[in-house]
Amino acid sequence: MSTFWYMEISKFPVVFAGLYYFRQLPKPYKIVLYLLIIAIGCEIYGYYIGAIQKQSNAWLFNFYMPVEVWALGLAAIDLVPKKKAQLLFYVLLFTNTIIWIVDMYNDVYQFANFSMVCGSVLLTVLYMGVLVNNSLFTQKNIRKQPVFWLSISTILYFGCVVPYMGMHNYLSKEYYKVAVELAYINIILNFVRYPLVAISFILLGRQKLQLDQQRKNTTNVLQRH
C-alpha cells in the first residue's frame, strides 16, 4: 500500500472522533470536520486523476485551496471574540482570495504555489492570534483546551509546509526527484496535524458531555426539592 493511502487512512480516526462527538461540537469545529471530509474526497479524487488517469490534478487542488483557507479562516474568526480582530481576519482572507484569483487567471492547470504559500502564512498568523487570544491570558490549563490543540495543529502544518510549497513548482520542473523526496515533509506534517485535531474533538466532546451531565444533575436536585 502506498504512503498516500496510509495518509488517508490516518484521517479516518479523526473523522470518527468528530462524528462521535458531532452534537457536542460548536460551529468552528464542525467547519474543521466538514473540511476534513472534503479534503479526503479531494485527495482521493486527485489520486485517481493523477496516479490512475495519469493527468494533471493541479486544478483540483487549486480549487480546494480557497475552500481550505476560507473554512479554517472562518473557524478562526469564530474562535476570536474581538470584533476588530475578526474584521482584520476578513480583510486578510479577502486579500488572499485576490492573490488566488490572480494566480488562477495566469494558469488554472498549474499548481498555484504562491497562493498556497500566502494562504499558509495567513492561516499560521490567524491561528497564532487565536492561540494567543485563547491561551495566553486564560486562567485555565491550556492542555485541557480544545482550541489550543486545534491551533497548534494548524500552525505546525501550515507554518512548516511553507518552504516546501514555496519551492514546489520550481522543483517539479527542474528537479522532479527532489520534489518527490521533499513531498514527505507534507506527508509527515499530515501525520502530525490530524491526531492533534482528533485530540481537540475528543477534549471538546468530553468537556461538553461532562457539562451537560452536571447541568442535568443540578436540574434533578432542584426538581427534587
Binding site: L136, T138, C160, V178, H225
Partner: protein, 255 residues
C-alpha cells in the same frame, strides 16, 4: 550536487520554522502555567483573608456576648436581686402586703432566673468550664420549659478545642433558633457523638423547607452563616429537609 543543496535548504528552513513554532508554543505554555499558578495564589490569598476576617468577626462577636453576659449578671442581675431583697423587707415590715405585690415578687424571681440563664448562655467562658454537653443540656432544659418535647443522647464530652466548642455551640443555638422561629416543630431530637470524631445531629418534625432555595441567592444569611462558621472550625454543616417532613441539621468534625 545543486539539487542536494536545495533539498537540505528546504529541510533546514522547515526545521527552523518548526523550532520557531515550538519556541512560541513553549513560551505560551510556560506563560499560561505562570498565569494559572498566579491565579491559584490569588484565590488562596483571598480565601485566607476571608478566613481571617471571619475569625476576627467571630472573636469580636464572642467578646460582645461575654460583655453583655457580664453586664446582665453584674448590673441588671444585681439590681433585680436588690429589688427582691427590698420586697422581702417590705413583707417583714408590712404583714398585710397585698397579694398583687406577692405575684410581682414571683415574676421578679422568674426574671432573675431568666437573666442568669441568658447570661450563662451568652458567656462562652462557661463552655470551657462546664463543657459542651453540660451547656447543651441547659439549652435542652430551657426548651423543655417552653413545652417542647426534646430528647438528648450523647456518649461523652467531645474532644474539641475552645474555639471549636464555641463555634459548635453557637451553630447549635442557631439550629434551635431556626427550629423555634420557623419550623413549628413539637419534637426535637439531639444526638451528640464524641467517639470517632465529633458529630451532632439535630432533628425536628416541623414543616421543613427547600434547602436549595434557602442556600441560594434569594435565601437569608442564617443557614449560610452556619455553614461558613462550621468551615472556620474545620467542621462540616449539612442540612437536609423535606417539606412537611421536618429537618435534620448535622454538624460534623472533618477528619
Amino acid at each position: 550536487m545543486f539539487s542536494n543543496d536545495i533539498k537540505f535548504t528546504v529541510i533546514i528552513v522547515t526545521l527552523l520554522i518548526l523550532l520557531l513554532i515550538a519556541g512560541v508554543i513553549i513560551t505560551i505554555f510556560v506563560s499560561n502555567r505562570r498565569h494559572v499558578q498566579q491565579e491559584v495564589k490569588i484565590i488562596q490569598i483571598q480565601a485566607d483573608y476571608e478566613k481571617e476576617l471571619r475569625t476576627a468577626e467571630q472573636e469580636v462577636q464572642e467578646q460582645v456576648l461575654v460583655n453583655v453576659a457580664r453586664d446582665l449578671h453584674d448590673n441588671i442581675g444585681q439590681l433585680l436581686t436588690v429589688m427582691n431583697m427590698q420586697l422581702e423587707q417590705q413583707k417583714i415590715l408590712n404583714s398585710g402586703l397585698s397579694p398583687a405585690i406577692l405575684s410581682i415578687q414571683d415574676t421578679l424571681l422568674a426574671t432573675i432566673h431568666e437573666v442568669r440563664r441568658v447570661g450563662k448562655s451568652l458567656n462562652s467562658d462557661l463552655l470551657e468550664t462546664n463543657g459542651l454537653i453540660s451547656t447543651i443540656q441547659q439549652e435542652v432544659i430551657r426548651l423543655q420549659q417552653l413545652n417542647y418535647k426534646v430528647t438528648l443522647a450523647f456518649d461523652s464530652e467531645p474532644n474539641l478545642s475552645k474555639d471549636q466548642k464555641i463555634i459548635a455551640f453557637r451553630i447549635f443555638q442557631e439550629m434551635l433558633n431556626n427550629i423555634l422561629k420557623h419550623a413549628g416543630a413539637k419534637n426535637i431530637n439531639i444526638n451528640v457523638a464524641a467517639h470517632g470524631g465529633f458529630r451532632m445531629a439535630v432533628t425536628d418534625d416541623g414543616r421543613g423547607f427547600n434547602v436549595q432555595e434557602k442556600l441560594g441567592p434569594s435565601g437569608g444569611s442564617g443557614l449560610k452563616n452556619m455553614i461558613k462558621r462550621a468551615e472556620m472550625a474545620k467542621m462540616k454543616c449539612t442540612i437536609e429537609s423535606t417539606t412537611d417532613r421536618g429537618s435534620t441539621f448535622v454538624l460534623q468534625q472533618l477528619s
